[in-house]
């Protein structure tokens, strides 16, 4: 009996001594995750980019102060987890957010991580440091931050001008990694150094991006993968065929359109595929500073002529969402409830009735069956822009508006919009965080650089601030709904639909969670493993 016990103890000890031994269903160490990348990102610096083409490959190189739980699909305050920070507290009437930092964390080049790095990063984001980012697209996120102060190496405080509870949500985005003080912004574009689970190895433009396991990662036992290799394949057909042929373990996240997903599933029936909202809205930007859209009646008529369900049916085979500025529930945290949404002109279920009202508005403005309004609908020369623009032109015909498609190359799109050299524009707006502060201030605030239409309503601006300071989540939600309703009624930037897209991976890939209310925050990949 004793010998049996001794053998059992010996076996148990040997299992503990061998870290590669795994139990059924337990994560296994090792392997390279192979994924294709949809395009070649301009550089490797997340802070200087505004596309998830940078976040996906490089988020694993970094850590944030806090992060959204990578295994919870919906980003919400309940899913916030400490990362470089061990804990946080709100003090000084919610005007100071203090983080206690983890001890013993090292940058990939061996230098210690301290509170000075946090201060450097956010000073640079606020434009307060000597070193500057070449581009700083999210500077406005920190408008309410007065300064950053440190207390020793392991404590850092964000001192705010006024309470802003959602600052934590912004800090948890994949767009908000902490950068090292000792590496210049230029070097971060070409050779990023982080504290994250994966070290940067190389980035060959138009070819590949390689990351390797960080053996000194502060979270013991992570990451499970030995590395991640992204092969850049710009041709979607080739990329999907390569996934089907087993060349890749995973598709690029949210890269598969709904019609293509059916093809892919028929060719690779064992693949695991999920469809989630991307929190990217397709919307119309209206040049309200020039005729004819300086007339609110024509703007309203246009918004009322939209048959949003047809867009979703044609483009996504029904798998899309009708909503306002904020992503609709259940995936969206802040979207208006259905009954409230349907009370907005143009959102009612009876499209014909809406269009009859729209026609009356057009007739009031002097247009009718004998006198059509000719407009140019400008959009970028990308399928996800062009396709809905064509449907929009078709729908506008029903209210005496004859649209002509004006396709604009990417290089000229933004200068054209900034010059107000357009009448109507078909635009896509991605939201990095499902939070009203990010969406409202960025897209609708007076003077915001991304407020393309220059919509400016001082009354609404006050409501933006009111919701931003509200600490009661329930009260804040009601304020947000009211604001969103008002934005739609003002035809500030009519939202057509919120897109959904698919992601697939091979059955042996484990630990992947696709976020359901943002496409920018779920790519740390430290818990991803390969069961093979």
């Amino acid at each position: 009996m004793r010998s049996v016990q001794a053998l059992a103890i010996l076996a148990a000890l040997s299992l503990l001594a061998d870290p590669t031994t795994t139990f059924a269903g337990e994560p296994k160490q090792g392997g390279i995750l192979r994924m294709y990348h949809r395009d070649s990102p301009g550089n490797a610096s997340i802070h200087e980019g505004a596309t998830y083409s940078i976040n996906v490959p490089f988020m694993g190189v970094f850590n944030n102060l806090v992060i959204y739980d990578q295994h919870v699909a919906q980003n919400s305050p309940d899913a916030l987890r400490p990362e470089l920070a061990e804990s946080w507290t709100w003090v000084n009437d919610n005007k100071t957010l203090t983080f206690k930092l983890r001890q013993g964390i090292k940058w990939h080049d061996g230098k210690p991580f301290t509170s000075a790095d946090v201060k450097c990063t956010f000073d640079m984001l606020m434009g307060k440091s000597q070193q500057k980012f070449r581009q700083n697209p999210r500077k406005a996120w920190y408008n309410e931050v007065n300064d950053i102060s440190t207390n020793g190496d392991l404590e850092v405080s964000f001192n705010l001008k006024r309470p802003q509870p959602s600052l934590l949500a912004l800090l948890a985005s994949g767009y908000t990694p902490v950068y090292p003080c000792h590496v210049s912004p230029g070097d971060m574009r070409t050779n990023p150094i982080g504290t994250g689970p994966f070290k940067f190895v190389e980035f060959k433009a138009n070819e590949s991006i390689k990351l390797v396991r960080n053996p000194d990662y502060w979270k013991k036992g992570r990451p499970y993968l030995d590395g991640i290799e992204y092969t850049i394949i710009t041709n979607r057909s080739t990329a999907i065929l390569a996934f089907v042929a087993g060349k890749f373990d995973m598709t690029f996240p949210t890269h598969i359109t709904i019609p293509l997903l059916k093809d892919l599933k028929s060719q690779a029936p064992n693949a695991t595929c999920v469809v989630e909202p991307t929190n990217v809205s397709t919307n119309i930007i209206v040049n309200s500073s020039a005729a004819p859209f300086d007339n609110i009646d024509i703007r309203r008529a246009m918004a009322m002529a939209l048959d949003r369900k047809s867009f979703i049916q044609i483009m996504f085979e029904g798998q899309g969402d009708v909503g306002g500025t904020m992503l609709p529930p259940p995936q969206g945290l802040w979207g208006m409830p259905k009954d409230m949404l349907e009370s907005i002109p143009g959102y009612g279920p009876d499209v014909n009735k809406n269009r009859e009202e729209a026609k009356k508005l057009m007739q009031k403005a002097g247009y009718g069956p004998d006198k059509h309004l000719a407009v140019k609908v400008s959009t970028r020369n990308l399928a996800e822009y062009r396709d809905p623009a064509v449907i929009l032109i078709d729908q506008l015909k029903s209210i005496y508006i004859d649209g002509e498609l004006d396709v604009v190359e990417t290089a000229n799109w933004f200068p054209k919009v900034a010059r107000k050299d357009y009448m109507l524009g078909l635009n896509l707006t991605g939201n990095a965080v499902d939070d009203p502060d990010q969406s409202f201030y960025e897209n609708y605030s007076c003077g915001s650089e991304r407020n393309y239409t220059n919509y400016c309503n001082k009354e609404i601006e006050k409501l933006f601030d009111a919701q931003s300071q509200e600490t009661d989540a329930g009260k804040r939600k009601k304020l947000v709904w009211d604001i969103d309703k008002k934005l739609q009624e003002d035809v500030a930037r009519p939202i057509i639909f919120h897109a959904r897209a698919g992601t697939c991976w091979q059955p042996y890939v484990k630990g992947i969670t696709i976020m359901s209310n943002s496409s920018y925050n779920g790519f740390r990949y430290e818990d991803v493993w390969l069961d093979k």
Partner: protein
């Protein structure tokens, strides 16, 4: 001969100088620059940041100054830095050249080795079923777009074999390396071989009607000797010209094929660089291609003398 060579070399330099001006100014005529694209991607524009970036990249300077900086650097071997990757342009371009060179070489080899023999057979068997079949094949080669053919091959290989001939950056064996290039080279070379075949056929038909061919046959020369030693040798000059021109046009086919087969060569890289308005990459790469084409034409001209002893380059 020497004077002719000097004159040709001088003309080549003048041509390249003209090309440099055309490339440089055409690129600037296209609306938008790298800074516009970077800010368009970020969805905002800060005029101060934009001005700083334009200054940093030197694109705020007068065009003549920019041209002088580029061309003087080019002549000194200083190709500048890629605006996008911020790496030396040469470091970005050089590793991609052998990939495209191998692909182009194999495609030309495919084109010549298939097109010339089939063209000869088609001419010799004029009016037979075989001639019609070969002409239909050549017509399909000219009609099928290479991106379509490439995608068809990829789809078929996945459906039939569960595999696809996508680029392998680290082939372990010579055979693997060959397999990496063979299918895309065949896709590009198919169109080119069709053209080569048609030119070979028509050229051969013309030569086969000449008196000296009849004389050779009358003297008892075998069919093979007549076709290959007498006819083909005299019919080959237009074919060489076409292959030379095709070598220049190949870059167009390679852009599509490199994209479909995901081959990291210079052709796809050039398109991406144009999309980003990455002037140092586009200017230097197009100049490089121009140099290759100009020298290819020069080589073709020299080959005339090799294949036709009657041609001598004299003053």
């Amino acid at each position: 001969m020497f004077a002719y060579l000097v004159r040709r070399l001088f003309l080549m330099l003048v041509t390249l100088f003209g090309i440099s001006i055309v490339i440089f100014f055409l690129l600037r005529v296209v609306p938008g620059n790298i800074v516009d694209i970077l800010f368009a991607a970020a969805g905002y524009v800060d005029p101060a940041d934009k001005a700083n970036l334009e200054k940093e990249l030197g694109i705020d300077q007068p065009l003549m100054v920019q041209y002088w900086h580029w061309i003087s650097g080019f002549l000194r071997g200083d190709f500048g830095y890629s605006y996008v990757s911020e790496k030396p342009a040469l470091q970005e371009i050089l590793p991609r050249i052998p990939i495209t060179a191998r692909l182009a070489g194999l495609a030309l080899l495919f084109s010549a080795s298939i097109g010339i023999p089939l063209g000869v057979i088609s001419a010799v068997k004029q009016g037979t079923r075989l001639d019609y079949v070969l002409r239909v094949i050549s017509l399909s080669g000219l009609s099928l777009p290479s991106f379509w053919l490439g995608l068809l091959i990829l789809t078929a290989s996945v459906a039939m074999f569960g595999q696809m001939p996508i680029f392998n950056p680290n082939p372990q064996t010579w055979l693997e390396a060959f397999a990496t290039y063979a299918v895309p080279a065949a896709v590009v070379g198919f169109r080119s071989s069709a053209l080569t075949m048609r030119i070979t056929r028509s050229s051969m038909l013309e030569v086969l009607r000449q008196d000296y061919i009849r004389t050779a046959r009358a003297k008892g020369a075998s069919d093979a000797s007549v076709n290959y030693n007498h006819a083909l040798k005299n019919a080959i000059l237009p074919v060489i010209t076409v292959i030379g021109i095709e070598a220049a046009f190949l870059i167009g086919g390679l852009i599509v094929t490199e994209t479909v087969f995901n081959i990291p060569g210079v052709a796809r890289f050039l398109v991406e660089a144009i999309r980003w308005r990455d002037y140092p990459i586009v200017q230097n790469l197009v100049m490089f291609i121009a140099v290759v084409v100009v020298f290819a034409n020069f080589t073709v001209d020299m080959l005339y003398a090799v294949f036709d002893p009657r041609i001598r380059f004299t003053d």
